[in-house]
């Protein structure tokens, strides 16, 4: 813990330097047909993380489409998400990545008009099977939202809520301490467990939300743009936490921030919104591969255009 602040500051410095470089390089690369643009913008800046193999898939998605009423938000997605790694979903607004992530813990059930067609298997089990209890699904597959949304209760009660509703038997105090420690928040809040969670800063609130999620001991954590409401320092802390948590949890993260995807994820899925022959707009998975490949040598022109900042 003692070395962490200095390490963090170094990382921040590097990151600031990188984004300065990106800004400098990215503007000329906006010129059309700059052949080496993606390489020169991405390759030297980021040391990508080696992706673990997909031998033990957590999710297997097969020809999945999601409808809101008559509107098809996502069409025909196929992907496999691996165990204990970070999978990032990137893409322009309205490409269906948030819709997609909400399928993994059946949050779309809450929208009366939403309809899911196709298959999502969770450890081989059909997630949308008739006998599957969505409550149990959400206990195993937790979710962190875009805007920090702590309950208007004390920090302690925020962490204890999940275990309590799940009829946890055991020592709650110990569980709260253990959870907050794992979320690297214990030192900051141990003296004010009984104060309102709303008194925390935005970044702390979001880390509390992550802690609250891991308190129910899920296997998967879904994060829907977890840093989009946070400043760069709070973002860096969340990214550190994600890296750390990926040793124990499978993490799927939706992000608008391509640098974030490049920094933290092992694999990246690029979505875009497409218009079909009938003129209907729908989200599509364009390319899904190891993050390094997506950012250094994507196989689809649209991916290349997006990550080099030519659209989106």
């Amino acid at each position: 813990m003692t070395t962490e602040p200095s390490r963090r500051i170094q990382r921040l410095r590097r990151r600031a330097l990188r984004s300065a470089q990106t800004a400098a390089v990215a503007s000329p690369s906006n010129a059309p047909d700059a052949p080496d643009a993606p390489d020169s913008t991405t390759a030297p800046r980021v040391s990508f993380r080696d992706a673990p193999p997909l031998t033990t898939p957590v999710f297997e998605v097969g020809s999945l489409s999601v409808f809101y009423g008559d509107h098809e938000a996502v069409r025909d997605v196929n992907m496999t998400i691996g165990d204990r790694q970070i999978t990032a979903m990137i893409g322009p607004s309205g490409c269906g990545k948030s819709t997609m992530i909400r399928c993994f813990n059946r949050m779309n059930d809450l929208i009366p008009t939403a309809r899911v067609v196709g298959k999502i298997r969770y450890h081989g089990e059909n997630l949308y099977g008739k006998e599957v209890d969505p409550i149990e699904v959400r206990r195993r597959i937790g979710m962190v939202f875009q805007k920090p949304n702590p309950f208007p209760k004390s920090i302690y009660d925020n962490i204890a809520y999940g275990p309590r509703v799940g009829s946890f038997k055991g020592n709650l105090d110990d569980l709260v301490e253990e959870t907050l420690t794992r979320a690297a928040l214990w030192d900051e809040v141990k003296d004010k467990l009984k104060t309102s969670a709303l008194a925390l800063s935005g970044g702390q609130q979001q880390r509390l939300c992550i802690a609250r999620t891991i308190a129910v001991k899920p296997e998967v954590i879904l994060m829907d743009e977890p840093c989009s409401a946070l400043d760069p320092i709070a973002t860096a802390k969340i990214e550190d936490l994600m890296e750390h948590l990926a040793q124990e949890f499978t993490i799927v993260v939706v992000t608008h921030n391509m640098q974030q995807a490049a920094r933290v994820s092992h694999r990246t899925a690029f979505f875009t919104s497409d218009v079909d022959v009938k003129g209907e707009r729908h989200g599509r998975l364009v390319e899904y591969d190891e993050t390094e490949r997506i950012f250094s040598n994507p196989s689809d022109q649209r991916t290349e255009d997006y990550i080099s900042g030519r659209f989106g």
Binding site: L110, P112, F145, V165
Partner: protein
């Protein structure tokens, strides 16, 4: 987006300096402000006059006898409104007992469970809003026909409170729905994403956050019921009752009916008695509304 000075280019010569000095408030704005103040004054001055007039009228009778004594048709100086005050408390107590649980549960259903796409839910919703606008005398007829005679409850506290419950139920439902709707969706999502059931989410997150708003709305609805005379007159709320209610089966009178009765007497002592009863009714109403405001400020949430 250059500044206007630059846009003119060098050939435009010395740019005109724009002054920051005010030309004074334009008369249209003053007129508008004046009309706002005037409209506000109509309400406030009127209420002030009413209060002063009532207190002056009631002054000779504003003593403890009005609280402790029972109505007396022979000697107005010894008459009091105890039976009416107690009757009001009984009736409103039972009204709250009937209409709050029903209203809250209805609001929870409509906000949390009902699918607004279904035509029957929309029909219920429109009906509730219409019911809130139905004149209270109509509820009196309903109470008389169905509760008093149809169910045979007679002229009792029970009949009165059931009728008043029906009268304020739409208001309670609408207020409770507003309060429930004000709880951000993100709180529900957070709870459900942690594996809470829908009922756990409502009971542990939505209701605690909504209760201050629900309480405020309910108190305002009940204070409307306290002032109602019309439906109770129709129910045959008795005007000369010299005993306190002893239970829901008991005969009763309430303050508005007592006031109505005293005002219609010819002797001037009864008129000041009526004014004194009005003061008491107003005090009760103001106390309830203050409680509502206090609750709202004390427990209002920041999200």
């Amino acid at each position: 987006m250059g500044s206007p000075v630059l846009d003119k280019g060098p050939e435009a010569g010395v740019p005109e300096v724009r002054r920051l000095k005010s030309d004074g408030t334009p008369w249209r704005e003053r007129l508008f402000q004046l009309s706002l103040w005037a409209s506000l004054a109509v309400g406030v001055v009127f209420l002030g006059c009413l209060l002063v007039y009532i207190v002056v009228e009631a002054w000779p009778r504003l003593n403890f006898r009005i609280l402790t004594n029972f109505p007396d048709i022979i000697d107005p100086s010894q008459a009091g409104a105890q039976s009416a005050i107690m009757g009001t408390i009984w009736v409103i107590g039972f009204t709250a007992l009937y209409c709050l649980p029903v209203g809250f549960l209805t609001a929870i259903y409509l906000e949390e469970y009902a699918d607004p796409e279904r035509w029957w839910n929309r029909a219920v919703e429109i009906n509730i809003q219409n019911l809130a606008a139905v004149p209270s005398i109509v509820y009196g007829i309903l109470g008389l026909g169905i509760i008093s005679r149809g169910l045979g409850f007679g002229q009792t506290v029970l009949t009165a409170s059931l009728t008043l419950s029906l009268l304020v139920l739409p208001t309670v439902i609408i207020a409770a729905r507003e309060a429930i709707r004000a709880v951000p969706q993100s709180i529900r999502e957070a709870s459900l994403a942690l594996g809470a059931t829908q009922w756990q989410t409502i009971w542990r997150q939505v209701l605690p956050a909504a209760v201050p708003g629900m309480a405020t709305g309910s108190i305002l609805a009940l204070s409307r019921a306290i002032g109602e005379a019309a439906p109770l007159l129709l129910l045959g709320g008795l005007t000369f009752i010299t005993f306190n209610p002893t239970g829901p089966e008991s005969a009763f009178t309430v303050l508005p009916i007592q006031i109505f009765n005293w005002i219609s007497q010819s002797r001037s002592e009864f008129v000041s008695l009526a004014a004194a009863a009005i003061v008491i009714l107003l005090v009760i109403l103001l106390a309830m509304n203050s409680l509502a405001i206090w609750l709202r400020n004390r427990y209002s949430h920041r999200w």
